[in-house]
Structures are given as C-alpha cells and as structure tokens.
C-alpha cells in the first residue's frame, strides 16, 4: 500500500481544498486549469521522466483531443462522450504513425521534430477556416453530461477535472509498477544496456509515447467542454514548452513532481498579475532560479531540503517519490 501513499495524500488535498475554501477563485477556477494541465504533465512525464525522451509537441495532442470534441459536437452534433472517444482514437492513430520515425531520433533532434510536429498541427487548426473556424476558433461547444448530471458550474468542473487527474495518476502508477515500468527505468538508465538485457526498447518507447499522447488528448477533450470555446492559440508551441517546463520544474521521474510543477506554473501568472509589466521578467527569473538552485526540480529539491527537519517522515516521502 506504501506506493499509493502519495496518491491518497493528493486525493485528500483535492477533496479538502474546496471544503476549506468553497468559493475561492483559486480553488474552483484555477484548480480546474491546474488539474487539466497536471493531467497532461503526468502523461508527458511518463515519456520524459521514465523513458528520457523529450516531446515539445504535446500541445498538439491536447489540441487534437480538444478539436475532435469541439468539431464533432458542434458541427455533427455528436454525443460528447463519443466525440471524446473519437478524439482518443484519432490521437492514438496519429501518435502511432509518427511515433516510429520520430522516436528513432535522439535528444535535440527529437525535440526539434516534436516541436515541428506541433507547429504543423497548429497550422492545420489555423488555416482551413471553413472547417476549424480558423484563429477565431470554435464557439458553443455543448456542456458535458455525466449520468444525467450537467457539468456546467465551476465546482462540478473541479470535481470532474480532478477526478480525471486522479484516474490519470492511478493509471500512471500502475504502469510504472508493472513490468513495462521496470523496463522503462532500464531505458532511461542506458538504452544500449537495456537492449542487451533483451528489452524491446523501440516497442516500449512507442507504447509510452502513445499513452502520454492519450493523456493529453483526454485532457484536451475535457478542456474543450470546460471552456465551451477553443482556438488555435491555446495549442501553440508555447503551451508545449510550458508543459515541458511544468514537468522539469516540478521534477521528473516522480508522479507528483509534474503535478506540483503544473500547480506552480499555472498559479504563477495568476499571482504575478499584480506586478503588471514586471510579470514577464519575474516569471523568467523564477524559472531560472529554480533550475539553478534545485536542478532536480521543486519536488525532489524541496523534499531534500525539508528532510533534515522531519528526519523520519521525510525519508519515506523521498522514497515514495520514486513510485
């Protein structure tokens, strides 16, 4: 049960937050954005943290999910759930097709290729105006309904988005602790080494890439319904980079680091708005500062710093970081 300790703590925080602050903008509104970003980040971390592959194109998968839901529900009046499934199917296909050639690339070449992929998808959202609505986007995306329950208020979205996040974390935990997970860690350690041990690296990398794309697409579909409006600006390469920053800032190779990173990076602009024109400068300085002083990310970095304070407890929490 130990490996799920972090999961239960996370669930507890998610449940308690709106009870303590029932009408707080930062919980019920920003909390939804955090949860959706975190869901993508957890998926991306499977790829980055456990296989050591970078993707600067995950906003594209997020966007494919969102546009599938948006287009199918508005233009063809599909049921949102079928649209969501279709979004996952399309993402699965796209990811499967590009994964093979793209994952043969290494390091910065992979970064560039995924970045390029993201930009191409974004142009495909902008240009065919008659289909996608172009830069003005798609409006009037209908409300999501779960078992007769309309998801149309902030608090309901809080529950759905965070429920999705918990589901995602649960899946990720199980994946990591499965046999694939073991193989994964081997890949990150040394690809050649793992290969010699008889691990079929290519297949595993592709599978993880697809899984992480599906995480993003799922979050994207929810995002489309939550916003009721989508436009290509929300899925540009800026967002891809933001996602990578969330993962790295929070700390890779822990399931909770990226969630922490997503929370920090989503909250920062919300709190920095008071600095007006200084906002951009401060955001950049904070990013640099964290990476210079806590190169392993906030999660690992902070828990190591706090360790001496609560010696007994902290040892176990650092251990759980691995799981």
């Amino acid at each position: 049960m130990n490996r799920y300790r972090g999961f239960f703590v996370l669930a507890l925080i998610i449940i308690i937050a709106p009870i303590i602050f029932p009408d707080s903008y930062f919980v019920t509104v920003v909390g939804v954005t955090i949860a959706l970003n975190a869901l993508v980040a957890v998926g991306l971390n499977l790829l980055m943290g456990y296989t050591g592959q970078i993707s600067l194109g995950h906003a594209a998968f997020f966007g494919i999910g969102a546009y599938s839901s948006g287009l199918l529900t508005t233009m063809f009046s599909w049921n949102p759930w079928f649209a969501l499934l279709m979004g996952l199917l399309v993402t699965w296909l796209v990811a499967e097709i590009i994964a093979r050639p793209i994952l043969r690339l290494k390091g910065h070449y992979l970064a560039m290729a995924t970045l390029g992929f993201g930009i191409i998808i974004n142009i495909l959202m902008v240009q065919p105006t008659h289909i996608t609505g172009g830069p003005d986007g798609l409006s009037d995306i209908p409300v999501l309904n779960i078992l007769g329950w309309d998801i149309d208020s902030d608090i309901r979205w809080y529950i759905v988005a965070n429920g999705a996040l918990l589901l995602g974390v649960w899946l990720a935990l199980n994946l990591i602790n499965s046999r694939i997970g073991l193989a994964l860690r081997a890949v990150h350690g040394s690809e050649v080494g793992a290969q010699m041990m008889g691990v079929d690296i290519e297949r595993i990398k592709i599978r993880i890439f697809v899984v992480s794309a599906l995480f993003a697409a799922f979050a994207g579909s929810l995002f489309a319904h939550q916003q009721a409006f989508i436009s290509p600006d929300s899925f540009s390469f800026h967002f891809s980079i933001e996602l990578v920053v969330m993962v790295v800032l929070g700390g890779m190779a822990s399931n909770y680091g990226p969630i922490f990173g997503a929370a920090v990076l989503t909250m920062l602009p919300e709190t920095l708005v008071v600095f007006e024109d200084y906002e951009v400068l401060i955001l950049g300085a904070i990013m640099m500062g964290i990476m210079i002083f806590l190169p392993q990310g906030l999660w690992v970095g902070l828990s190591q710093k706090i360790k001496p304070l609560f010696l007994n407890k902290a040892t176990s929490s650092v251990e759980s970081v691995g799981g």
Partner: protein, 291 residues
Amino acid sequence: MSDVLLQSLITGITIGSAYALVGLGFAIIFNVSDVVNFAQGEFVMVGAMSAVSLLAVGTPFVLALFLALIVVVCIGLILEKFAIEPAKSATVVSTIIITIGASIFLRGLALLIWGKDFHSLPAFSGETPIHLGSATITPQSLWVMGITAILVYLVHLFFNRTITGKALLACSANPIAASLIGIPVKRMMLFAYGLSALLGGAAGVLIAPIAFTSYDAGMMLGLKGFAAAILGGLGNPMGAVAGGVLLGVLESLGAGLISSGYKDAIAFVILLLVLFFKPQGFFGRAGEERV
C-alpha cells in the same frame, strides 16, 4: 512564374542568412556544452533594439551598430556566468529550462526598457531596389547576405586556423580530455556564449531594417535558428549555415509557389522528412552513445 521563383529565392536567401547566423550560434554553444540555448533568439532582439536606442540618442550609425553588438556580447557573457555556470550539476533538460527562463527574462527586461512598440532601423545604404529582370533586390538584402558570408567565413577560419578555435572544438569532442591537456574549459564556455551572442546580435541589426523589431521578436527567429541548426546537423557549425539558408529558401518558395498559408507547415514537413531519413541532419556527425 519564373520571376516569382527568382524573387522567392532572393527573399529566401536573405531571410535564410539571418536564420543561418542564429543557427550558427546554436551550433557553437551546442558544440562546447551540449546545450541548446533557447535564449539565442533574444540575442537577435537585443542587438536590434540596442541599435535602435543608440541611434535615437544620436550615436553615429556605424558606432551605434558596433556598440549594440558589444551590448549583446555582454548579455551573452552574463548569461553564461550567472545562469549556466552556476548550474553545472544540472542535466541537459534542466539547462534547457534555464535558457528558456533566460529568454523569458530577457523579453521581460526588453519590455520594460523598450516598451511594446515595433521599431525599425534605417537601411544601411538607402532603399532604392536593384532590378534583376522583373525581380528586385534591396541593398539591405545584399548587406545581409554579404556580411553573413563574411562572418561565416571568419568563424570557419577561427575553428580551423586558430588555437582557440581548435581548443573550442576539442571541448566539444571530449571536455574531460580537453581540460586534462590544459584547455580552460570554463573560459571556452564563456567564449562560446560571447561568440554566439555576437552572431545573434549581428543578425538582429542586419535584419531589423527589413523586418522591424519588437521586444518579442526574438522567439520566432530563435525557433527558426534552432530548426536551421538541426537541419544542418548540430555538430557541424557550417551545417547550421547551410540549414539556415535552406530553411529560408524552403519557406519563401513554399509561399511563392505553393501556398502562403501553409508555408511554415511545408518547411517543417520537409524538416521532419529530412530527419526521418537523416536522423543527424544533413551534415551531422553520427552520434555514439555511452553505455
């Protein structure tokens, strides 16, 4: 159609030259430290903006350009000294995030100093276009191509003919061995950042009379420069130059002959195809991996 082709080529080579200088900067830093410096585009912006400001306070033109380059080099050195060097224990990915942070920081700084307006520099020698059949070329385009060619040649000589240049290449091949034979790796890093900042700044002042500049102009040029470096192959500085020109030409041919709406998509599709068939770019060295 042939005049469209010719015009697209001229445009492509001009813009490609700017990409080439930025890409060259990427390749140099990558060679020394395995880091892709995402603040490279910001060097371009700072160069152009500084020149604009210096001209506005009445500095003579040539002196203003020269001083602007010095400003950029200083920024490059400060970046290395205070952001890259202290983070030596950081992984490559963390270092990338640092440079992304640095680029956001520089953009924020530029926003405070120069505001949000677009600015332009006067062309170096007038704006009367030169006619080549039905196509035209501006004097500034010639300046961009000419100075880029000279800078690239100088960088080439530097790497092949000078001790410092060779030492720089040695750092990239094997930093530990380099330091063992007495090459000051730390100082080499500093030097690499200064040099690529200089190249970025030069691209900035060259292109500003054509494309204008604003506090957020760096990001797109940085992205294109990165693409140029990758297309050519990261390990090879001259590859980045070829990659830059190629990318510029692809974009403008795409716009002129196929579809201007999809021109960036066309350029990136070709980039992906190149990578699928040549995973190390056109001129990249084959990577060997440590077990």
